[in-house]
Symmetry: C2
Subunit: 95 residues, 2 copies
Amino acid sequence: MNKPLDIRQVEKISKALGDPWRIRIIEAVLKEQGWMQCNCIVGMFDLAQSTISHHVKQLIDAELLIAEKEGRHARYRVNEEAFNSYIRFLAPFCQ
Amino acid sequence: MNKPLDIRQVEKISKALGDPWRIRIIEAVLKEQGWMQCNCIVGMFDLAQSTISHHVKQLIDAELLIAEKEGRHARYRVNEEAFNSYIRFLAPFCQ
DNA sequence: TCTATGTATCTAAATGTTTCGATTTGTTGA
DNA sequence: TCAACAAATCGAAACATTTAGATACATAGA
């Protein structure tokens, strides 16, 4: 676990972080003790449900969020390991 | 100096890091003792000069690279402060 | 001053992303 | 089983990014 990221994964993570809504979604998930339901996110932002779902999907694809299904609900938490790996990739760029 | 990044700047930096050529350009600049001429970058990658110039511009706009003109040459170095700020922005996401 | 060279800009085509509304899928509870 | 709900997917329009070739700009050296 916690192996170095390859350039593809860095690209994916960077792209996922390259949208203000997605950054806000991550911040919101983190704030809720790291757990959040999709519906709750939809209520927080002025975006359509399908748009939120699309953004969340990208965050999950980049492994920045982890999804868990609970019946008809889904809950998300921040994948701290992924952020750790990303930061470790960037660290050499600041000596 | 070294103040917290706002969400716009985070977005810009993330987007700049969201392309494999740009990541390779940063790595190349870092490798050359942190200094590199544009022409040298052009020689390293199979991309048109105008395309490299476009990518470098984005890295400069995101303040990840700093450009210095020397006559008709340009030299670039990595802005370690920007990477530091970016990492500090991300740190709360991995406790 | 003129030419060659290094870098930046412009234009346009191809490709990718964002967004919404509509629909689909899957699950709960009546 | 069926209605209600949560989330995901589809389709399409609007918008942004990537790329190369052509061109412009700026400087060094003849």
